[in-house]
């Protein structure tokens, strides 16, 4: 679907209806978005890096700070709103997407963000997450995935690898983990991406694309918990291994990674797998450059994006695609809900009280009535 086919041609960006700073107003800085509350995550927590990146990134949107709302659930990452000087709500476990749905639907002039974790979003709040994605409510969901329960001190999470030994699984977990990207694509999310806490440049670029997307944007952020799951993402962070571990996804580009060749491009790449219908890793030298899969994040069909998501290790993470898997346009729930109200009111939203009163009198005095004198 192209932009012009959308029923709301004026609204194409996620922040189109949010008031911006006027040219004569002072530009905002990260400091403007920093609240007076002391940040209380553990030393070395990946959340610090994401907070810094968000505080550094938000001023660039040029939005009025009072029109930004951060909503979170419960968990370490859900303390996030307290540290940002915007409107915010630290709500209850798993429910942030539903609260954000109410905010986004009630007010088109707000930029709505959800901060959540793997337990909050995928375990207790799994239902709300998939339904937000299905409805395509205009909000950006930052899913901090550390593959462990931190705030409750170290139980396995719905993204922990099978066999993981934790406080609640002394003989190893027998749970099969979720792949958050596969789940979001299955729920027909319109913007699904993955990035890494420690790669500020990539994180910021994905956040910018997510904010610009009109609809629900899901950004999975690999985030290291130094206390209960330290090193979970070492393979994709270690300079010696990351070239083979990270499969970078860039729209319109052949997908290549691995040891860099003289050409400056990776030695490995992705090709379609004729046998499974999916995607597999191949040596470029074996298959030739022309056989490489060119990433199309804008394809209306999520099949290829799903196939890419399956290249993520479900056990210890030695390989994972990173980037924007899917970015397509679909009318949002909140825009359509508001459009129905606009249609019903006949555009008379400059209603004065007297008129609303007349219409109320007509409503309650309607139906089959009789008069007693």
């Amino acid at each position: 679907m192209t932009t012009t086919e959308l029923p709301f041609p004026g609204l194409t960006s996620g922040t189109d209806s949010v008031p911006t700073l006027q040219p004569d107003e002072a530009a905002q800085t990260g400091k403007d978005f920093t609240s007076d509350q002391e940040v209380r995550w553990c030393p070395g927590c990946g959340d610090y890096a994401v907070l810094k990146a968000v505080q550094g990134f938000l001023p660039g949107l040029g939005l009025r700070r009072e029109n930004i709302v951060f909503v979170s659930g419960i968990g370490c990452s859900s303390r996030f709103p307290y540290y940002l000087d915007t409107y915010g709500m630290h709500s209850i476990h798993g429910r942030a997407p539903s609260i954000a749905t109410g905010i986004a639907t009630a007010r088109e002039d707000l930029s709505v963000w959800v901060v959540t974790g793997d337990g909050d979003a995928l375990s207790i709040g799994g239902n709300h997450l998939i339904h937000a994605l299905r409805r395509n409510v205009n909000m950006t969901i930052l899913l901090f995935n550390n593959r462990i329960y931190g705030l409750t001190k170290g139980q396995y999470s719905p993204t922990s690898e099978a066999g993981k030994v934790t406080k609640s699984t002394p003989m190893g977990s027998v749970d099969h983990p979720f792949n958050p990207v596969s789940l979001a694509l299955g729920a027909e999310g319109t913007f699904v991406a993955r990035t890494i806490d420690s790669d500020r440049k990539h994180l910021t670029s994905v956040l910018a694309a997510a904010a610009a997307h009109r609809g629900t944007s899901l950004v999975e952020i690999y985030q290291n918990c130094p206390i209960f799951n330290d090193g979970a993402f070492d393979a994709i962070k270690n300079p010696d291994t990351k070239a083979d571990a990270i499969i970078p996804l860039v729209h319109g580009q052949p997908v290549r990674f691995g040891a860099v060749l003289e050409s400056g491009l990776g030695s490995k790449g992705l090709v379609r797998d004729g046998e499974t219908g999916g995607v597999r890793v191949a040596q470029v030298a074996d298959v030739g450059e022309s056989a490489l899969l060119v990433h199309d994040a804008h394809s209306p069909d999520p099949t290829m994006a799903f196939a890419l998501s399956r290249l993520t290790d479900s056990g210890y993470l030695n390989q994972s695609p990173i980037g924007i898997f899917r970015q397509v346009e679909r009318p949002t729930y909140d825009d359509q809900a508001r459009a129905q109200i606009t249609t019903a009111t006949g555009g008379n939203d400059s209603d004065d009280g007297a008129d609303a009163g007349d219409r109320l009198a007509a409503l309650i005095g309607g139906g089959d009535t009789w008069t007693v004198v």
Partner: protein, 636 residues
């Protein structure tokens, strides 16, 4: 043929048939006709939870009872004077409720072998003498309907489906109901299929004509209009009145209404109704579950609209944690629980008022929530407005406890003038409210209004008032996270005090004590208002003294409740639960409240209640109480 016309002061009719027979529609039309005629009335729909239980069986029986009179009445009536039974199962399921001598009109069409056995009859009750004590009318409603609509070329099955309209026509003749509105209704309802429209109208008119011409019905009845105070009236169900109250609350507060809801019996009609009123800026969000419904409503309230969620008992259980969040964040929120039989899934289509203690205490921590309850279908309108007034003024979730009887029952309702409605001021925060040490102004989200103890409602988009709220304990005033022991103790007490402060805004209790010296007080809440009032009238009619009062507010109680209770020697508390209000009254006032409790899924019966009141009067006054002298004249 000139037929005799008899005057009656009131009649109770019950239409009963299979779930697919259209009994609810039939009853509703008869009710509308009676309302238009000017009778006072009260209705009791009663239907199974199954959409279409096996045809012709007892579990599949659906009924609609309407009580109409030439005077002010309070209940749908204890026992029908007339039963219309469309099949053997409907007869068998309802006969036990009929007094001897009652009129029974039976569609004879299905009184044959298999249909009789499906209803559990071994012999036909029409032939075996078991109905000898009733005034039995055997009419082949189905056969006559099929013959009457022959010209429209419908299949036999479709033709037979109009039999409910034939029955309605017959009863409309018997009681002199005006018919134009029903013809108009059928014309509109079946506008798209002309054969069905014409068949229904023809069946309806044929039923009327049959009554007028047949010798089987020698008498018709006249029930004069009831005197009512001047005004415009309409017949209204509780769920419709409640929906209108929510729309009105939006208009009166200037806040767009946002309903987050998940379908559940018997509350879903409120979602359906509000979804029609987008022209008032009402947004309805059908959520993925009960929790998302209340969650979205809380989000909408944070965003500066009026968050509402509607549910029934099981859904309220699911919403508990989120309501606690609204208590902690002190955001306006209206939670409507249309109570049904419990626990668990319980009796989805039957009434009960056993969620009072869940509403009062069903959350973790000290989590006070104001509770209001409507007392009649029309009163649901006022109760909704009152819930909104409290929620917005005091920045708090409010629970409104309706129930299945109010939701689906109906009564004539005087349409209020706009000038009678309360105006509600959201009073959003517009600027800083606190000077900090360096002389700058700051915004403190938990700095309270001294009179109401309400905190400011600062909505996103207001520059300079950016703030964060959440479920963690707040520091007094500034609202930042606080784990300080003394602060927590203070905040717990402050939240409780804020809810108690609502009592300052409530009018004194209205106590109905005509002689002023009654020794027994009957105190109720919710839909028992009708049966209690009817029971009290019977006792007074028999010459005894009794006082009555009814609670709109269950939390906080009105300030003078303790003093009112202390004026009486005995206090009777009738409830459709095992004594939940009694428990609260005993705890709060150390009063020896006597419970009168039934949980049958049906309204309390006025006659039985009168007996219970009589017993207490006998004890309190040391006299023998005999209520029998004039049972026929006793008003209901």
């Amino acid at each position: 043929m000139t037929k005799q016309v008899k005057q009656l002061d009131r009649v109770i009719i019950r239409f009963a048939g299979d779930s697919g027979d259209g009994m609810q529609l039939t009853g509703d039309r008869f009710t509308q006709e009676s309302a238009a005629f000017g009778n006072d009335l009260s209705t009791l729909p009663n239907f199974p939870a199954e959409i279409r239980a096996p045809q012709g069986t007892l579990p599949g029986v659906s009924s609609f009872q309407v009580h109409f009179a030439d005077h002010d009445i309070l209940t749908p009536g204890d026992a029908p004077d007339v039963l219309v039974a469309m099949n053997p199962a409907a007869l068998r399921a309802n006969l036990g409720d009929l007094p001897k001598g009652a009129t029974v009109i039976v569609d004879t069409h299905d009184f044959s072998g298999r249909n009789l056995s499906k209803a559990g009859y071994t012999t036909s009750p029409l032939d075996d003498g078991s109905l000898d004590e009733y005034a039995l009318h055997q009419v082949d409603l189905t056969g006559m309907t099929v013959a009457a609509v022959k010209e429209f070329g419908l299949s036999r099955k479709d033709a037979a489906r109009a039999k409910n309209m034939f029955a309605l026509g017959l009863l409309s003749w018997m009681y002199g109901r005006p018919t134009e509105a029903t013809v108009d209704f059928l014309t509109r309802r079946f506008a798209k299929v002309s054969e069905i429209r014409d068949a229904n109208i023809t069946a309806f008119q044929s039923g009327w004509n049959f009554g007028e011409t047949t010798e089987a019905f020698a008498v018709s009845y006249e029930i004069k209009p009831a005197p009512m105070s001047p005004g415009t009236y309409r017949n209204i169900t509780g769920n419709l009145a409640l929906s209108y109250g929510l729309v009105a609350g939006g208009v009166q507060s200037g806040l767009p209404v946002f309903l987050g809801s998940y379908p559940i019996t018997p509350a879903s009609d409120i979602l359906h109704e509000l979804s029609k009123h987008k022209a008032f800026g009402v947004t309805t969000f059908q959520a993925e579950d009960e929790i998302a419904g209340v969650g979205a409503a809380i989000g909408a309230s944070f965003a500066g609209t009026l968050g509402v969620t509607t549910t029934s008992g099981p859904g309220l259980a699911l919403k508990s944690e989120a309501i606690g969040l609204a208590v902690m964040t002190e955001l306006p929120l209206v939670v409507i629980d249309v109570q049904r039989g419990g626990p668990s899934t319980g009796l989805p289509t039957k009434t009960e008022q056993a969620d009072l203690l869940q509403a009062m205490f069903g959350r973790n921590g000290e989590s006070p929530v104001p509770i209001v309850a409507p007392q009649s279908p029309g009163d649901c309108f006022d109760a909704a407005l009152e819930a909104i007034r409290i929620a917005v003024t005091y920045r708090t979730p409010v629970l409104l406890l309706s129930d299945g009887m109010l939701a689906n029952g109906s009564e004539p309702w005087r349409v209020p003038e706009l000038s009678e409605l309360p105006s509600i001021d959201p009073a959003f925060a517009t600027g800083p409210n606190h000077a900090v040490d360096d002389g700058d102004d700051d915004f403190w989200p938990y700095l309270r209004n001294e009179e109401t103890l309400a905190r400011p409602w600062a909505i996103p988009g207001t520059a300079g008032l950016e703030h964060r709220i959440g479920g963690l304990e707040k520091g007094d005033g500034h609202g930042n996270i606080s784990y300080d022991p003394a602060n927590h103790d203070f905040m717990v007490r402050t939240r409780a005090a804020k809810v108690q402060r609502i009592a300052e805004s409530l009018p004194p209790l209205e106590v109905d004590d005509p002689t002023g010296d009654a020794k027994v007080l009957v105190l109720g809440w919710g839909s028992t208002y009708g049966p209690i009032g009817a029971g009290v009238r019977r006792v007074r009619k028999a010459g005894y003294r009794v006082a009555q009062t009814h609670l709109r507010h269950l939390n906080p109680f009105p300030k003078d409740l303790g003093e009112v209770l202390a004026r009486y020697d005995k206090v009777l508390v009738p409830e459709m639960n095992l004594g939940q209000l009694s428990l609260l009254l005993r705890a709060e006032y150390l009063v020896d409240a006597v419970g009168y409790n039934h949980v049958r899924g049906l309204p309390l019966k006025a006659a039985e209640l009168a007996e219970a009141i009589g017993e207490l009067v006998a004890q309190a006054e040391g006299v023998d109480v005999d209520l029998t002298p004039a049972p026929q004249e006793a008003l209901s």
